[in-house]
């Protein structure tokens, strides 16, 4: 059964340059506004008990979507159906007033969330305990530190127990200990088979907490589906954009114009073809790079191959050369020589990667030829580990 069902849900705003335009439009019955599309039509089916993540850049329409789901913004088109009692945490401490005590603010905040006075009194001890405020609840909120403020606000909003909870970036608040507590509360919420819609910049949390996710970009759905896939795709995209060295603008080192020493082929072996034409490797698969080069009239000891694995944000993951490892290229036919660099198993974590290939002399200083960015490939790992590569490790008893 679906807890949330949205059909063709969208939001656009009318933007008026001046207040006068509003009247002109009203009187002349002609549009005097710019239409701002905050969210293109979107279809959602969120099952009961599911956790659903919303990711994307700032201004991508995440908050708009959550506001539509929460019902605080009316949609421009489409319909929305929500089963059961819903509650939304779009902002912590909305309506808190600094002049009043924590206690009084709890009362009003609970009332705004739809609790009766009796329900509020019943939950009050829990709320105060969870917020860790102690006697400070009797002091005016203006005397609170920002940490105390968010703790109080979070305690209030999570004390309610709706069937559908919509949370907008509310988890990344407070000190580490409190973050843990609030995360636990979200987990418990999920385990109780309540429906959770969750938006966060913390992609790890989204990946861990949610089964399904949606990636919004400039108000349009870029990807929707299994949260691990969506988050990985988004991360690749973010890294590619952050890259300080865009692929096409790499400066190729000056080459010997008349050189007969050059790279013939750099290619990957294995991998699954994807729709984008980028081969996909799974973590733990064998991974090999094949390089062929013409060495011309040079002796084989004077030609070396260097390879660097680069993530799409420009980070060099690992680079090594036949020069460093003291080995030689092997003849294939005529002056064509080649070598395979094998990583088995592949220890890279999810991400988009590429290769940089260099053809060097024995000093390592002269560059015969190079391929700045080639052989793009993608890696996906299934586990919850994070980072760049898997590192050898073991867990040992503490002495």
């Amino acid at each position: 059964m679906n807890a949330i069902q949205a059909r063709h849900l969208s939001k656009h705003y009318r933007q008026y340059a001046r207040p006068l335009d509003l009247f002109k439009e009203w009187l002349l019955r002609r549009p005097f506004h710019a239409e701002v599309k905050a969210l293109a039509p979107i279809d959602l089916n969120i099952e009961k008990g599911a956790t659903f993540g919303v990711i994307g850049d700032n201004g991508a329409g995440k908050s708009t979507l959550l506001k539509l789901l929460a019902g605080t913004l009316p949609p421009s088109t489409g319909t929305l159906q929500i089963e059961g009692r819903k509650s939304a945490i779009l902002e912590l401490g909305s309506g808190f007033h600094p002049e009043f005590s924590g206690l009084e603010n709890i009362r009003l905040a609970c009332s705004v969330l739809g609790l009766s006075a009796a329900e509020t009194s019943q939950r009050m001890p829990d709320i105060i305990a969870f917020s860790e405020l102690g006697d400070a609840v009797h002091r005016p909120v203006k005397s609170y530190s920002s940490g105390m403020f968010v703790r109080l606000a979070f305690s209030v909003v999570t004390s309610i127990e709706p069937d559908v909870l919509i949370v907008d970036e509310a988890l990344s608040v407070g000190d580490a200990l409190f973050q843990k507590k609030s995360m636990d509360r979200m987990m418990r919420f999920r385990d109780e088979q309540r429906t959770l819609v969750f938006c966060s910049h913390n992609l790890y949390q989204v990946k861990e907490l949610c089964e399904q996710a949606i990636w919004l970009e400039a108000g349009v759905v870029k990807a929707q589906g299994d949260s691990a896939t969506v988050v990985d795709d988004y991360q690749d995209y973010v890294r590619a954009r952050q890259s300080a060295r865009p692929n096409s603008q790499r400066v190729t080192p000056e080459m010997d114009a008349v050189s007969d020493v050059y790279l013939h082929e750099v290619s990957l072996e294995g991998g699954i073809d994807t729709a984008e034409g980028v081969p996909l490797f799974r973590f733990g698969d064998p991974f090999a790079i094949k390089v062929r080069a013409e060495i011309g009239s040079r002796p084989v000891e004077d030609v070396h191959i260097g390879l660097i694995l680069i993530r799409n944000d420009g980070l060099q993951v690992y680079g090594v050369s036949t020069l460093i490892d003291q080995c030689n290229l092997l003849p294939i036919e005529g002056t064509t020589h080649g070598v395979r660099l094998v990583f088995d198993p592949l220890m890279l974590m999810s991400g988009d990667y590429a290769l940089e290939a260099w053809l060097l002399d024995r000093s390592g200083l002269h560059v015969y030829d190079s391929r700045p960015i080639c052989c793009q490939f993608r890696v996906r790992h299934e586990s919850s580990e994070v980072g760049l590569v898997k590192m050898a490790h073991q867990w040992e008893p503490v002495a």
Partner: protein
């Protein structure tokens, strides 16, 4: 729950009813917010609740001096300055409550932007809070008025039991006007500037500092088309003259109903778009 783009023409009465029913559902928040607004004005001040009355009391002194002391206006043939002050205050109390309510209403949606956009509170709650938070100030004013009247020989009659009805009507009138002021202020910030001027005009076209009888017959219809005239006259009849202002109550009740319908309709049509402007 089911949300669709709001239908424009269907079931007007039903939707209007729902608009005001929302207030009932959120009555607890309404009460807490009105209490907070009232407390906020006196919190940490020396004189406390008296500040709620500072302005009307000050006006009372000034107007009594000017209009009774200098210009010799009186409400009753044999009335002195004290008598004038009582009649003036009986009208000033409800009027300043209404004025105050509308002034607050004009900024209510802007000030509660967070609650409006980030929680599920219906927008109508905020002008309603502005209207209700004038209640305490009016009650204190009326208490002082009745005590003073008693001291000066106006023994309160049985008509005083009608006072709660009167206060209710005054609240209803404030609440009937508040949503328009609130919603228009969102679209056009100038409304906040216009309100004090309109209130000044309303003040002088209501028989507050002069008796209704002083008005030339030609201008009577203007003054009588002002609901505030009926309101302040009713307060005076009940508190000072021990008379039953039946006509006034009927006129006011009808005016409130018409206004509630009209302003409610305007509010409903504009409230969703107002959110885009906040």
């Amino acid at each position: 729950m089911y949300y669709a783009p709001p239908p424009i023409r269907t079931g007007f009465i039903k939707r209007l009813f729902k608009l005001y029913l929302d207030l009932y559902h959120h009555r607890q928040s309404l009460f807490l917010m009105a209490r907070r607004d009232t407390l906020l004005r006196i919190k940490g001040t020396l004189l406390g609740p008296l500040w709620l009355l500072a302005q009307p009391l000050f006006l009372l002194l000034v107007y009594s001096f000017v209009f009774s002391g200098i210009m010799k206006i009186s409400f009753r043939p044999d009335g002195g300055s004290g008598d004038f002050a009582l009649y003036l205050f009986a009208a000033l109390v409800p009027f300043s409550a209404l004025q105050d309510g509308l002034q607050r209403a004009s900024s209510s949606l802007m000030e509660n932007r967070d609650l409006l956009l980030k929680t599920q509170m219906p927008a109508i709650v905020f002008p309603a809070v502005a209207a209700i938070s004038t209640l305490v100030q009016e009650l204190i004013g009326l208490f002082i008025l009745i005590m003073a009247a008693w001291v000066m020989g106006y023994v309160p009659g049985i008509t005083l039991f009608l006072l709660p009805v009167m206060i209710g009507l005054r609240l209803l009138l404030t609440f009937a006007l508040a949503p328009v002021v609130a919603i228009l202020s969102v679209f056009v910030k100038d409304v906040g500037q216009v309100i004090p001027m309109l209130m000044l005009a309303l003040f002088f076209t209501t028989p507050i500092i002069y008796p209704l009888e002083m008005i030339p017959a030609d201008y009577r219809p203007i003054i009588e088309s002002n609901p505030m005239t009926w309101l302040v006259q009713a307060y005076r009849s009940i508190i000072l003259e021990s008379q039953w202002p039946v006509d006034n109550l009927l006129v006011l009740g009808a005016a409130c109903l018409v206004l509630l319908g009209a302003t409610g309709m305007l509010f409903m049509r504009l409230q969703h778009r107002a959110k885009d402007f906040l």
